[in-house]
Every structure is written in C-alpha cells, then in structure tokens.
C-alpha cells in the first residue's frame, strides 16, 4: 500500500475545498475527504495485519521513498509500524468527528475546513515519516494552521492564546531542530550525513553525543505534549480554540509530541533516555499531580479538560520515562485513549456551549433533562477520563502503572504511587463537573427550550465512543498492533542497559 496516499488525499481534499463555494458544498467536500481518510486508514490496518500474518518481521512496513535533497542526504521516506498505525487511526477518527461537529460553521467556512484538513495532512505526514527532515517538516506544518484556527474562530482571549500556542510550539520545534541537527552530524554513511531514522537507529549515536542532544529533542517534543514546566500553552490554547480545533489540538497535536519523544528521543537515543529517565519521571509526576490539582480549581469546562489533559499526558511521559516494555505500551495506549477521550470531551463541551452559550460549571445544571444524548456523551467522556474499567482510559493507565511497578527500585515505586494517587483527584474533579453540570436541578429556565444533538453530532460522538470502547473492552487487539513497534524500541534500550 502506498503511504503517500495519506498525504495526497488530504491535499486533494484541501484543494477541492478551495474550489467549491458556500457552506453546504464546503462541508460536504470536507466530510467526504475525512471519510475517505477514515476508510483509507482501515484499509491500512487491514493490509498491515495481512503483512504481519504473512510473517513479515521488518520494523517498518510499506516503506517507500525517493531522494529529495541529495547533496544534503535528505530523503522523502515513509513507512509505518504498529505505533504509527495506531496514531494514524486516531487522527482519522478525530478529523472525521471534527468535521462533523463543525457542520454549522458559518464564519469563513472555506478557510476553516481548509485549515482543518491541512492540519490532518501535517499529522499524517508526521506519523509516517521515517526521515527526520520530513518528520520535522510535517511537525511544523501542523502548528501554524492552529494559530489561525484559534485566532480567527476562537473565543475568549483568542489572539493571546493563539500567539502563545504558536510561539511555544515553534519554540519546541526549534529545540527539536537542534536535536535533529546534532543527530545528523553524528551519522556517517560513506562519508556523508543522513537524516534517515532507520540508518541512525542502525548505526547508533555515541553516548556522549546522545547526552547532549537528548534534552533538546525531548524537551522540544515535550512542549508539544505539555511537559512540565512548558505546559502553559495547553490551558489557554485549548480553551480558546473552536471545538474542532480543540479536538485536534488535544487529540492529535499533543500526541505528535508523545510520538516524537518515543520515536526520535527514546528510539534513536536510548542511552540518554536511560540516563535522563529519573528527570523525565520526576517531571512527568509533577505534571500528573499539578495538572490534577489545577483542574480542581477550574470552573470553566474547557479549562477543566485542558488541565486534565496536562495530567493525562503526564502518563505518556511517565510511561516513556520508565522504559519498560509494558510502560511504553501503556504510553502508546494512553496516547490513543487520551486522544479519543479528550476529543469526545471537547465535542461534548462544544455541543453544550453551542446551545447554552456558557461553559461555566456553576451556570449549567440539569442538562440531562433537555439533552440526554449530549449529557450521556459527556458522562462517558468523564468516566473514561477517570479511568473506569471498560473504557480505554482504564486500560491505558493500568498498563502504565503495571509497567512502572516492574521496576523494583524505591524511586520508581514512589513515582508509581504518586501517579496512582492522582486518580483520586481526577475522580473528584470529573465527578464534580459532571455532577453539577449534567445532573441536579435546572439552574437556568432558558435552557428548558434547548434541543438535543443533531445527526452530525450523534455520529461524531458515536464514532469516538466506539473507538474508546473498542480499546477499553478488548485491549488485546490493540496491544498486538503496537507490540512489534514497542519491541523494537525497548530492544534498543535493553541493548544499551546491558
């Protein structure tokens, strides 16, 4: 299967959006494009299983590429393993749902859908890249459309948030750039340098060099995934963004960072990952606890979800920091699980806000009576967020904890306990938010006239819920999917530790 389709398809969709006129046509084109992406991703999954059952043991499947900038050793090179496929599927789900919830976007709709689809192009490109240059290229492509999406269609102090997000993420990618340049100049292929991920992994980077450039790459990608203390763009960015952009931002964009930490930082520099693991774990634990406690104080639904994202993304970093097979598996599951869950959460908040024009927990109340469907969606997202068994959140967090516990040292045990403890706090804020906005008496009589979700919103929510439950109820297919990918990473680490 040609992976470049994943880039070409969104590109064609985006260009087609430019050609048509009016909201009705634009949204149909966008939806068709997103649906085509989704179908393509399922085909990819199918072909992937077929290849694996045939016994193909290559690290990366469906590789293809061509020489791009030959004098500099820059190639366009794509390929996927289980982890990338999981992320690609996540992207397809969230983009499809995002198009659906923006169905009634009147204001500058053409530009809106264009940018949204363009963002998905960046994400796909990032997840399939096997060349650090293209990886970086797509990472940056996925930043600036967010600036425009938040600044133009956002709410609240949108311009401030958009600028903050763009600058912090570009700062992250600037650090990533230094890390990549460091890797590049320490490779040697017949006297030339290379950006090829596979070749760098094959050759290995000297430990001294790794120690210098690992922090650049890790912090750089970490900023994308709300690494403490660089998480401050998350609450502002998420809360100001329009619904679809919030979904994309929390659902996929933050995962670019997690994926980058795993694929570039940990996979290419395993020695340094091991060396710095203590610091990563401490920062992750701070993010987990700090995020959870900060959420307790929030009164705005979007801020609640944004801060809880900081906490949840801490689990991803914790899993990566622990460097055991189970923990890394957990981190990947958490990426997908949090992506789906938080997209669902933001979709629910968006639906509520569209109707009530309020996101304050104190002003909402008793929504279950008027909008049972939306309220149910909201409750499901909440329960998944606090890690109720049966939903993906439970599987993800449980796997991370199990993986962390495998490490016998007191420090790791303590970290695990601290991270576990945050679940209690999560339960408090989630139940409180859900309880007082969904249940209870109706606080504002104007709300009694409000209607429930339309077909588009129902479809979007259903899709995301299916994803959540598919991982939550039967996690084995998912771990099977990502296992070969995490195996190669952990193998690298194991070689180094020996």
């Amino acid at each position: 299967m040609d992976l470049s389709l994943l880039i070409i398809l969104p590109l064609i969709t985006a260009l087609a959006i430019l050609l048509v006129k009016g909201l009705k046509q634009v949204r149909i084109v966008a939806l068709l494009g997103a649906a085509a992406q989704l179908i393509l991703c399922f085909f990819l999954l199918y072909f992937y299983y077929q290849e694996r059952t045939k016994g193909s043991a290559a690290d990366f499947l469906f590789q293809s590429g061509y020489i791009w900038y030959e004098p500099l050793g820059i190639n366009y090179h794509v390929g996927v393993d289980g982890i990338s496929i999981a992320m690609i599927l996540l992207t397809a789900f969230v983009v499809f749902a995002g198009v659906l919830v923006s169905w009634k976007m009147e204001k500058m709709n053409k530009e809106f859908f264009f940018l949204l689809i363009f963002l998905s192009l960046g994400a796909y490109g990032f997840f399939i890249s096997l060349d650090l240059f293209t990886l970086f290229f797509f990472l940056e492509i996925a930043v600036i459309p967010k600036f425009l999406l938040i600044g133009i269609w956002g709410s609240g102090k949108k311009e401030y948030s958009a600028m903050k997000l763009a600058l912090m993420l570009m700062g992250g990618s600037a650090l990533v750039f230094v890390g990549l340049a460091g890797l590049y100049f320490n490779t040697n292929v017949n006297g030339a340098h290379t950006f090829s991920l596979i070749q760098i992994a094959h050759q290995g980077i000297p430990l001294g060099v790794q120690k210098v450039f690992f922090p650049f790459a890790f912090i750089g990608f970490g900023i994308f995934t709300a690494l403490f203390p660089f998480h401050t763009w998350v609450p502002d960015g998420h809360s100001s963004a329009p619904t679809a952009a919030s979904m994309f931002l929390a659902g996929i964009s933050m995962k670019l960072g997690g994926y980058g930490c795993l694929r570039v930082a940990a996979y290419l520099m395993p020695g340094a990952a091991h060396y710095y693991s203590t610091i990563i774990i401490i920062l992750a634990c701070i993010a987990i606890l700090y995020g959870a406690f900060a959420t307790m104080m929030q009164t705005d639904l979007k801020y609640i979800n944004a801060y809880s994202s900081v906490s949840h993304c801490g689990f991803i970093l914790l899993g990566i920091g622990m460097l055991t097979k189970t923990a890394i598996n957990g981190a990947v599951i958490q990426m997908v699980s949090h992506g789906l869950m938080t997209a669902l959460f933001f979709a629910g908040i968006g639906m509520i806000y569209d109707r009530t024009h309020s996101r304050q927990v104190a002003q909402l109340g008793g929504l279950m009576k008027m909008m049972p469907f939306i309220s149910t969606v909201f409750v499901i997202a909440g329960l998944c967020s606090l890690g109720l068994p049966g939903f993906s959140g439970f599987v993800a967090e449980m796997t991370v904890f199990m993986g962390s516990w495998e490490k016998g040292d007191l420090f790791y045990r303590l970290a695990t306990i601290v991270a576990c403890a945050s679940i209690v706090v999560t339960a408090v804020y989630i139940l409180r938010a859900v309880g007082s906005s969904i249940m209870g008496p109706v606080k504002n009589n104007d709300y009694l006239k409000l209607g429930d979700a339309g077909w588009n919103e129902r479809l979007a929510a259903a899709l995301l819920i299916i994803g959540i439950i598919a991982i939550g109820v039967a996690p084995f297919w998912f771990t099977d999917l990502i296992n070969p990918g995490t195996d190669t990473i952990i193998q690298k680490v194991a070689d180094v530790i020996k």
């Binding site: 791009w68 900038y69 030959e70 004098p71 500099l72 240059f133 970086f136 290229f137 797509f138 940056e140 492509i141 930043v143 600036i144 600036f147 425009l148 600044g151 133009i152 949108k158 311009e159 958009a162 600028m163 763009a166 600058l167 570009m170 700062g171 600037a174 650090l175 750039f177 230094v178 340049a181 460091g182 590049y184 100049f185 210098v212 650049f216």
Partner: protein, 468 residues
C-alpha cells in the same frame, strides 16, 4: 576576442543596451506615454532575464579583472529576476510618475554595477562595481520627489554609503600595502603568513561589507532609509542590493580570505548573533510596515551569516539558495505593501487590520510571503532557513544554531503579529478593495509560485550545489 567579449559579458551588455534604449526614449522629440515606456521596459527586462539562461560560458576578461562562470551567471539571473518583479510591482506607482525613464536608467545602472561587482576578480573592479551600484541608489531613494522624507532618506543613504565606501577603500589600500597586489587569487596566496596589518585591513573590509548588508552594528541607516524611500526602492535595496553584496561576500570570504578563516569565523559568529537579536528586538514594536520589514531584513541577514560561517559548499550553496527564496518572499510582502501604498497611501500595521475582509487575495499573498520569511513550511523559506542553519551547524557550533533557532521563534512573533492584524482584528476603516492591474498580478504570481515551488522542487538547490 570580440566573440569572448560578447559572450562572456552578455548580461552586462544586455543591461547596458537597456540603459541606452531608455536614454534614447528620453531624448526623443516626441514624449512617450508612461504606459508605453513601462510596457516596453518590462518586456525588455523579461527578454534580458531569459537571455541570461543561454550561452553560459566560463572565462576571464581584461587580464583577469573580470571573470564569469555558470554560478555567477546564475547569481546575475536571480538579480535580473528580482529587478523584473520589482519593476512589475511598481507599475501603478510609476504610471503616475513624471520621470519613468530616469528611474529605470538609475535602477539598471545599479544593476550593472552589481553585475561587475559579482564578476570582479580584482579589488579595483570590485570597488568600481560597488560605487556604480550605490551612488544611483541614493538618487532612487529620492524618487518620491515631493516628499521630504524621501530626500531625507536619500541624504542618509548617501552619507552612510560614502562612509562605508571610505572604510572599504581604506581596507583595500591597507590590503594592497600588506600584500602588494589587488588580484583576488594573488591576495589569497599572500595571506598565508598572518600579520596584524592584514587582519586590520580585513576588519575594515568586513565593516564596509557590514554597512552594505546592514549587519549589526552597522545597521543604523537602514530603517530610516527604508521608511523614507518609495516602496519600489525599498524593496530594491533590501532584496537586490543586499543579495548582490551577499553573493560577493560569500565568494570573497571563501576564496580570498580563506587563509584567515579562523579569524572571520569568530567575527561572523559575533556579528550574526548580534544582527539576529537586535534586528528581531527592533522589529518587534515597529508600526510602519516598511520599517518593520527593514528590521526583519536585518535579522534575515543574521541568518544568512550563519550559513556563511559553515564554510563549506553547503554553506555557499545554501546562502545563494536562500537569497533566491528571499527575493520571492520579501518581494511578495513588498508587492502587497506597494500596491496598498500606491492606492491608499497607508503603510501602518494598524491600517492592515481587517485587511482580509476587503482584500482576501492580497492578504493571502502577504501572509504567504511573511510565512516564508518566518521559515514556516510548506513555504520555501522553511527549506532556505533549514539549510542555512544546517550549514552553520556543520562546523559543530551548536550554540550558534540554538541561538538562531530561538531567534526564529522571536521573529515568528512579529510576522504573526501582521497575520493577526490581517485576519483577526477588526477595523472601522479598513483599506478598501485594491484593484490589481495586470503587471503587479504577474509579479505576485511569480513570487507566490516561487515561494511554493522552489522548496518542494529540490531542483533549484541541486542546481546551485552542482555549480560549485
């Protein structure tokens, strides 16, 4: 001999021919209409550009004073292209101007000077070209004849340019004293044993160059001159004139002063860091678009200097590649400003609030240009900056590229500030819809097309790389 002369100097001769044609038009009994002159000049400039791509030969003339090669021809083609774009962009401004032929005569004279400068392989020839390229520029800066600011800009420009030429000349004479020759190849032979006189001469030369490319701390003239001059001249100054000097700087540093590389490496390091930081800091709060682009172009020079510090084929290739992209990106931005300025006379950042509502096409063109300047993919500027920094990192100096990468983030802030004004902010009196006539439309297409294509299509870079 004559054949050699005609072929090797064909680009210079083409420009000279153009100047003479314009002179005859000016002297003709019947006064030509502005539209006719402009149309004719633009067609001739296009022919001149196209001719540059054929019969490319390598060789020297006048006893090794003048040299040319594929690379130098390509550099001249870039400048030709930039001149054509600027000429197309200033169509609506020049249409109402009284002295169109004079404007083009001056502009082409400077272009001729730059060509000689690029082709020089002797300090005398270099100085000759430099002077020819800078004196008419002062007259051009004064071309908004009824505006006081324009004369002020011209005055400032001629003063600072005379001063920097003085420095250069002093440096050249010192160098002559130290080495006993003016020829580039012999100088590099003589420089093998370092003496303090040589280093001093070199510092003076670098200072002279620094003035011309407005590197910090020699940048102080830039903002005022850019703001006061007509937009066409500002864009010419910031793109063509700067680009030509950068081409020469790279070749001089790499070929002539190669023996002094440890000395100039440190110097360029310091200058480029200062240039980036100070250019960025001043650009942050500018209210006038031209002034803003002046400071942004200062900081761009800082990035280019990083590429030069790499001291490799990649370094010089990426500098030339970046200048080419810079021509497209900066002219895309200047093109929009020039159109708006000609139609409404408004040049402030605040005027651009709500610009998207009234001028969506121009807004996107400006935005794409700014994104390319900021180095955001998928525009060509991303590739250009990436390669520059990569070349800079080649020497293993990661501090420099870390500072540069963080400076890119700072620069992003002020580029996005304009984008924010265009797309997000409301305005009671937005700039009304600007009619774009045919010529600027072509220019805009070339710029935006160049920005989008030159990055993805690796052909341009590979071609430049193959010329070394």
């Amino acid at each position: 001999m004559l054949n050699d002369f005609l072929i090797l100097m064909k680009q210079e001769l083409g420009v000279t021919l153009l100047i003479f044609i314009l002179l005859f038009i000016k002297l003709a009994k019947k006064e030509w209409k502005n539209e006719t002159v402009l149309g004719l000049v633009n067609i001739l400039l296009f022919v001149n550009l196209a001719a540059g791509f054929f019969f490319i030969h390598k060789g020297t003339l006048f006893g090794d004073m003048f040299r040319t090669s594929e690379l130098l021809s390509f550099e001249k083609n870039i400048l030709n292209l930039g001149t054509l774009i600027i000429s197309l962009q200033s169509y609506s401004w020049l249409k109402q101007h009284k002295h169109v032929p004079e404007f083009y005569m001056l502009m082409l004279s400077t272009l001729l000077g730059m060509f000689f400068m690029i082709s020089s392989s002797n300090l005398l020839m270099f100085y000759l070209g430099l002077e020819l390229s800078s004196i008419p520029l002062a007259a051009m800066a004064n071309f908004d004849l009824d505006k006081k600011r324009s004369s002020e800009a011209a005055m400032k420009f001629i003063m600072s340019s005379a001063f920097s030429s003085g420095l250069l000349l002093f440096g050249i004479s010192m160098l002559y004293g130290a080495t006993g020759t003016l020829s580039f190849s012999e100088i590099s032979w003589q420089l093998t044993t370092l003496s303090s006189l040589q280093v001093f001469a070199f510092i003076l030369l670098i200072a002279g160059f620094g003035f011309k490319i407005s590197a910090v701390p020699f940048h102080l003239w830039t903002a005022d001159v850019y703001e006061g001059s007509p937009v066409a001249v500002t864009s010419y100054l910031s793109v063509i004139s700067k680009g030509a000097i950068l081409f020469v700087l790279v070749s001089v540093l790499y070929n002539v002063f190669q023996p002094l590389d440890s000395a100039w490496y440190k110097m360029l390091f310091l200058v480029s860091v200062l240039t980036m930081i100070i250019g960025n800091l001043f650009a942050l709060r500018q209210q006038n678009m031209k002034r803003f682009l002046a400071f942004s172009s200062i900081s761009q020079v800082g990035f280019i200097l990083i590429g030069i510090t790499g001291e490799s084929i990649q370094g010089s290739a990426s500098v030339i590649y970046f200048v080419m992209i810079y021509v497209f990106s900066n002219l895309a931005a200047f093109g929009v400003i020039s159109l708006v300025s000609a139609a409404t006379g408004r040049e402030n950042v605040d005027d651009y609030k709500g610009f998207y509502k009234t001028n969506p096409v121009l807004s996107w063109a400006l935005t794409i240009g700014l994104f390319s300047l900021a180095g955001i993919p998928p525009t060509a500027g991303f590739f250009g900056k990436f390669f520059l920094l990569l070349a800079g990192a080649g020497k293993g100096n990661y501090w420099l590229i870390t500072i540069a990468a963080l400076n890119m983030v700072v620069s992003l802030y002020y580029y996005l500030r304009i984008v924010k004004a265009i797309f997000m902010e409301a305005n009671d009196t937005p700039i009304e819809n600007v009619k774009i006539s045919f010529a600027p439309k072509i220019a805009m297409l070339i710029c935006v097309g160049g920005i989008i294509i030159t990055g993805f299509a690796s052909g341009a870079y590979k071609y430049i790389y193959s010329l070394f």
